[in-house]
Symmetry: C2
Subunit: 492 residues, 2 copies
């Protein structure tokens, strides 16, 4: 086969070494088999890796990383590939380390509420493994039936239940990590709050730039005695936003509090035919209340009263598991449903202080009008985490660039009102050009210095998180310290 | 006056520069005035600083730190000086940067549940400032009426309410920090979960080695509708420990759950004359239940039932604020009360998995018998955070060394059962020799590399957290990279 490797690297000895560690089946090198790995959930960027390896153990990951170091080959870890910011996107001339064979739950310690998993374990499996005993794992990204815990750690993933229970970083006790130089270290400990610097906290959300977590100790929680989901139906987004503020101000912390606008509601109803969301609502709120039965009963009534006080036309509730699941199913399908509204969509992820919700939504509306692109809104309303879905057609020349520009305007708006350019999807390849909007050069330099502590040769997931001098989206060359040339990703 | 400065440093020009920034009143150089600053809460170590400075603003702190850099003078930040691990202990030949004039609450934003404070603000003042509006600041060290928020950030302080609500790091949104080189940077942001590496998390608990926080944005919480404190009286420590486990296993997360043994109970009763704790109890549990009134009512009964099922002789409860305060007052006075049991006491701080409680308490008892030193136990039972108080007489030659040895054995025991050498008091000067019991050389090296990112000249709080080659407690010389000689602390 004709090699298209522009860097003229001789992969043969490298692959031979990988095979010695992983066997022939653990090393994927045929181009047609590598297609699977050329993008993650941010499908507008594609780049085929030169080789993908599938280790099964910490030692195998360490051996692979040591080989990468020996040959100065960049490597990128990939879990289920569902990330939305291109964190697992290959770069040209790289090895993809895929954790999909590392799917063992290594230990369940109910007494101490801890579960140890390999990184390829699917998020939802953790809850499934402990739910019989009355426990669950709280962080629940919409993709929880397919995304991996390793990916969740890399992106510090959130989810519907993170309003009350915190994002991934709040649920990680200890990590066994293969550092970018191939050493095996432990971060954190089996009890919360170990002394010294909180390197576990730095690692979680570092998007694979500080190494690969190969054993992850998760904190599990007791399943609440009672759960109730409310669906409130509003005739204006402002009214729904005001209800959100009032609920939080009343001291109620719902298990989850999500908002969907009319476009999202109808997209979901079109696709799922669930027939649960009112198609004529301008906005709906989904509010989950959990706790003791008596507590849920009281808080349910308080939330209903607050919603009605803010003009909700109707508030329905579901307590039995099947009905609750149905209400959430639409929300969890919202991104996929947007795909039916237009050939393509671009999910943005930004955070604003809750009090800025009405202002920001108005601004997004006017950005939509100005640009001519429809924007559907789905978001974690309780913590101000917006997910505008910008609808477009990628076959139209230049559309993606324009949409990215609109997305960028939304991020700048988030920063302007005191928010953040990412709530839970990470920075990855997609948003690094907006990092200077949020951080000073000194801030970014400090982070990069920390990266160099772990990742001195820059081999672990290069070209992610941190902006380079190049302008956003451009394919350009970056020369790293050790003169290894990396080429920017191609756009498809 | 004869200078005793062993390093022969000429302080005159340095002090002149400090005075130019802070005025004469902001610089303390007379030996008799410096006595106040020669130790913190770990009073068995003392070292007078050469000079103490009292800045009022971020810019003044930065200017002071820049002067320290110019003259390569080590500097140590100090809040209220209540820390128990010697984190604010001066070293010979150093400047103490005291934050006690930085006591302004800069901003209160109730809508977004945030308060911005200067580092010298006393922990309890935050709650006092927002309690009228129905809010409070959760982390509540026993010393909360005197300890400063800056110190809490440095030590990642805990407290009774941290079982349910998390320690300091969980309540910090943003930090304005003067780095060890005198730059002013912002870490984190006004919304939770900012992207990039979690440097806020690294800074909190870094004990002044990464810089000085000069503006701290705290998260405040809504005051619960109802609070009830239960006092359960047990005839064995094992029974009380089993009740703790059963309460957590039942899915109840109390606002706080504290255990005191017979010696502590009697010490407190002797000193406070509160007449609330049963003097013949082998152990008592204090359990605070908070939440909605209905929730508290149900959980209160559940906790009573669990305690009785585990052999509690009696369970009393207090719901009105005055009675509750009285029950907590004893617990908060426990350390001070230990001072009445013997001329001196040494507070240890370790963490164990909750399930190891009965085993560890037995081992502590046998350590006490073997060593001949009485040990009183007071602890945050809910999160396995032990505070054994080892009673001794410092006027007896060699007693402190022996007591430290016993304390060290307790820490090793904590590590052996999968716990930690510090729960909330930090490592400081006191425990750094035990860091290798918990961390590998690679782990510690990684932390030190991170330190060097922020603190390249090693001027910010040297000789803290990290063990040097010297054995524990010895006063020995350490040579830093830039050949600046630091001399170990003297023992008093």
């Amino acid at each position: 086969m004709l090699t298209q490797d522009k860097t003229q690297r001789n992969w043969k000895p490298i692959i031979k070494e990988f095979q010695a560690v992983l066997g022939k089946k653990g090393v994927i090198e045929r181009r047609e088999e590598l297609i699977t790995y050329e993008c993650d959930g941010l499908s507008s960027y594609r780049q085929r890796p030169n080789v993908a390896v599938l280790p099964r153990t910490t030692e195998q990951v360490a051996a692979v990383v040591k080989i990468c170091n020996k040959y100065s080959v960049p490597f990128i870890a990939r879990g289920s590939g569902t990330g939305l910011s291109g964190g697992a996107l290959p770069i040209e001339d790289c090895v993809l380390i895929v954790t999909s064979l590392m799917r063992q739950i290594l230990n369940i310690d109910l007494d101490n509420q801890r579960v140890i998993v390999q990184p390829g374990v699917i998020n939802n499996w953790v809850t499934q493994a402990v739910s019989g005993a009355g426990f669950y794992y709280a962080p629940d990204p919409s993709s929880q039936i397919i995304c991996s815990i390793g990916g969740n750690v890399a992106e510090n993933s959130g989810g519907v239940h993170c309003l009350k229970y915190g994002v991934t970083t709040n649920h990680i006790l200890e990590l066994k990590v293969v550092t970018p130089t191939g050493e095996i270290v432990n971060l954190g400990g089996q009890v919360p709050e170990t002394p010294g610097y909180d390197l576990t906290g730095v690692f979680v959300g570092s998007e694979g730039t500080l190494g690969i977590a190969t054993e992850i100790t998760l904190r599990i929680l007791k399943t609440p005695e009672s759960i109730c989901v409310l669906l409130a139906d509003f005739t204006s987004v402002e009214a729904a936003g005001a209800a959100v503020s009032d609920i939080i101000s009343a001291g109620i912390i719902p298990g989850g509090m999500e908002m969907m606008d009319n476009m999202s509601i109808n997209a979901v109803e079109d696709v799922t035919a669930l027939n649960v969301y009112p198609r004529d609502a301008v906005a709906i709120l989904l509010v989950e209340i959990d706790g003791l039965e008596v507590e849920v009963k009281v808080n349910k009534q308080r939330v209903i009263d607050i919603c009605k006080h803010n003009g909700a036309r109707n508030v329905t509730s579901a307590s039995d598991p099947e009905q609750r699941l149905k209400l959430w199913k639409g929300r969890k399908a919202a991104f996929a449903a947007a795909g039916h509204l237009s050939p393509d969509y671009y999910v943005q992820d930004g955070v604003i202080p809750r009090t800025q919700l009405p202002y920001v939504l108005k601004e997004i509306e006017s950005l939509s009008e100005k640009s001519g692109y429809k924007i559907a809104n789905v978001f974690h309303a309780g913590d101000g985490n917006l997910h505008p879905l910008i609808l477009y057609d990628n076959s139209v020349e230049g559309a993606l660039e324009k949409v990215e520009e609109v997305g960028g305007e939304i991020l700048k708006l988030c920063v302007k009102v005191g928010g953040s350019i990412s709530g839970e999807h990470g920075i990855g390849a997609d948003k690094r050009c907006y990092m200077p909007n949020m951080f000073t050069k000194a801030d970014l330099d400090t982070m990069q210095f920390v990266r160099e502590v772990f990742n001195p040769k820059g081999l672990a997931n290069p070209e992610k998180i941190f902006p380079t001098p190049r302008t956003c989206g451009e394919a350009a060359r970056t020369v790293t310290e050790n003169n290894q040339k990396f080429v920017g990703v191609d756009r498809y």
